[in-house]
């Protein structure tokens, strides 16, 4: 027996080592835990020891690098600082105007939400942290930050940058490394987040892939979903507050393994491969934060001022336009009677005055060949007899002959034309009386 162990010592060591690790793996994955969930107590213990040993070294080297970068960027590399400052001031001014434009809508939205008793969580407390290390392998996308349980961080708190969400706290180490936390990135294969497509309002689940990409795989083909559409957090996962930026849709392809689903690749709004500083969301509330309320109020006041200024400007422009129109009328109308104007004794009479801004309205020239349409040829109403026909009430041209007369009196020798089909009957009746029989003519 002794010679057996001596002979197969190496193989036995290998088998035992593999067996122990396989059993350890089985224990860790035995429970149906949620994706990205923290470890059990025994696993955390081993992990804590290693992290407690490694992170101080990482922190030391990170500190050196940070100080070098800080010294370079703040004391040496100050070229174009004034220019950047000017640009930033311009941007602040532009953003203030944008804020003022959006403030009214935002306030109205809040009022409507209050009316509908709509609950929404706003990010109120965050902890800024610096990334001190990574997992060192592309099989697991995790980061280590220099804030931990001692700074109020807890498992499943969302981690973000000003550009968008990054991931969530996967593990804290309160006993061994109180100032270190492990962050599970969005593009880790075990990561997941509830998202909302901004324009179509379709809810989905965002996952990481083994290649470090972020994809949505639980949607069927939909023609409304287009590349370039923004993706926001939906808040349904109880980790990420609603409405935070996630990224934009990059491509949509059919999933060959899970038909009829599609693989929607999302480009994260934050560069997950090059993170230096992050914000951990440690608290939310249903009301707007005080600072945000002040900003909104300031924006609304600015919007009112802008509206008042705009109204005043519009009024002044309208007055100017009215004056301009009066002047145009005054300049153009006299030009009709240029011939008369030369003979007029008082040429200034046509000019607009304060009492009569349009000036004197000129009379039309007398007709060269007066007819029944000429003004003044219609008899006054007092001379007309009620019920009697009047020569002026004719509706059609006098040359149109009567069709019936053409049929019944063919021997008259009148030159006839076919009746017009579209003439109304009343008009035909009226045509029976020729125009030249009118007593007025």
């Amino acid at each position: 027996m002794e010679s057996f162990f001596a002979r197969f010592k190496n193989v036995l060591v290998l088998v035992v080592v593999l067996l122990v690790q396989t059993i350890g793996l089985a224990v860790q994955v035995r429970r149906p835990v949620a994706i990205g969930a923290p470890d059990g107590a025994k696993v955390t213990l081993l992990r804590s020891w290693v992290i407690a040993a490694i992170t101080p070294i990482e922190r030391f080297f990170h500190g050196i690098g940070y100080n070098v970068r800080y010294g370079w960027s703040n004391y040496i590399d100050l070229r174009d600082t004034r220019q950047k400052n000017r640009e930033l001031k311009d941007e602040v001014a532009r953003l203030r105007l944008e804020q003022a434009q959006l403030a009214e809508d935002a306030l109205q939205g809040h009022r409507l939400q209050a009316l509908l008793n709509f609950q929404r969580n706003y990010v109120t407390w965050t902890v800024a942290a610096q990334v001190v290390g990574t997992s060192g392998t592309d099989q697991s996308r995790v980061l280590y930050i220099d804030k931990g349980a001692a700074d109020g961080l807890k498992v499943d708190q969302a981690v973000m940058t000003p550009d968008g969400i990054v991931g969530k706290i996967r593990e804290t180490f309160p006993h061994t490394a109180p100032h270190t936390a492990q962050v599970l990135l969005l593009n880790d294969p075990t990561s997941g987040a509830g998202v909302l497509l901004a324009s179509t309002r379709i809810r989905a689940i965002l996952k990481g892939s083994s290649g470090g990409r972020t994809v949505i795989t639980n949607l069927t083909p939909d023609s409304r979903i287009k590349p370039g559409e923004k993706v926001l957090t939906s808040g349904g996962d109880q980790v990420y507050p609603r409405g935070l930026n996630v990224g934009t849709i990059e491509s949509i392809t059919p999933d060959p393994e899970h038909q009829p689903y599609t693989v929607i690749q999302v480009k994260p709004s934050t560069n997950l491969f090059q993170l230096e500083e992050v914000l951990v969301i440690t608290g939310t509330q249903s009301d707007l934060p005080v600072l945000a309320q002040k900003d909104l109020a300031q924006g609304a006041a600015t919007a009112k001022e802008m509206a008042a200024a705009k109204a005043a400007a519009d009024e002044a422009a309208a007055e100017a336009a009215a004056q301009s129109a009066a002047q145009i009328v005054a300049q153009k109308l006299p030009s009709i009677h240029e011939g008369e104007a030369a003979t007029n004794a008082d040429p200034d009479a046509a000019k607009p005055t304060a009492a009569n801004p349009a000036g004197v309205i000129p009379k039309p020239l007398p007709a060269l060949h007066p007819d029944r349409y000429t003004p003044g040829t219609t008899p006054p109403a007092s001379s007309l007899t009620p019920g009697a026909e009047h020569g002026a009430v004719t509706y059609s041209a006098p040359s149109a002959p009567r069709p019936r007369a053409q049929q019944t009196q063919p021997a008259d020798g009148e030159e006839s034309t076919p009746p017009t089909a579209d003439a109304p009957p009343a008009a035909k009746q009226k045509q029976a009386k020729p125009e030249n029989e009118s007593p007025n003519n």
Partner: protein, 174 residues
């Protein structure tokens, strides 16, 4: 004066290392790997702990020690990830065992041997990790991306040659 009689290649070329080197070099490999990955994310393709595990295995030429060294380095590496602990441990245990077994048979100080060995072990490491993830951890959607794994093996080989030369200076003859 005692007479030395070498009965095998293993006894002729077996090396040992000081406890400080045995302890610090794997830790340094893990720390440098982490720092490089943070510096530029594409460096996460490298696997410095694997290179160190191969070096210690082929230098000591003891499969049992190679297995234990590989397992320890792999477990340390796993502890820094967010994955179950033991994935890299199993892979590097197997590689430590095979590396030490090969070291008994061939001249591992030869440059060509080192190139082939590192390339082959890198591919083997990727294959074992894929099998563990797919079969033991049930990640059915995982696929082996051969091009990426070949590039990874190539990168590891390029880095392994100077690292081996550097670590050769820490060898202590028996």
């Amino acid at each position: 004066m005692p007479s030395l009689s070498y009965t095998s290649r293993r006894e002729l070329e077996e090396h040992s290392f000081s406890p400080a080197v045995t302890l610090l070099v794997p830790v340094a490999a893990i720390v440098v790997q982490v720092l490089l990955s943070k510096l530029y994310w594409r460096f996460s393709m490298l696997d410095l702990p694997l290179i160190v595990a191969i070096f210690f295995a082929v230098s000591r030429r003891s499969p049992a020690v190679g297995t234990l060294t590989g397992a320890t380095i792999g477990l340390l590496q796993d502890a820094l990830t967010g994955r179950p602990i033991g994935v890299n441990g199993i892979a590097k245990s197997v590689i430590g065992y095979i590396g030490a077994s090969i070291g008994v048979q061939v001249d591992v100080d030869n440059l060509t041997t080192r190139v082939v060995m590192n390339f082959g072990f890198s591919i083997l490491n990727s294959l074992i990790l894929f099998l563990i993830n797919r079969r033991l951890l049930g990640q059915e959607g995982l696929h082996l991306q051969w091009v990426q794994e070949l590039l990874r093996a190539l990168a590891n080989t390029v880095v392994a040659i100077p690292v081996f030369l550097l670590l050769d200076t820490t060898k202590r003859a028996e």
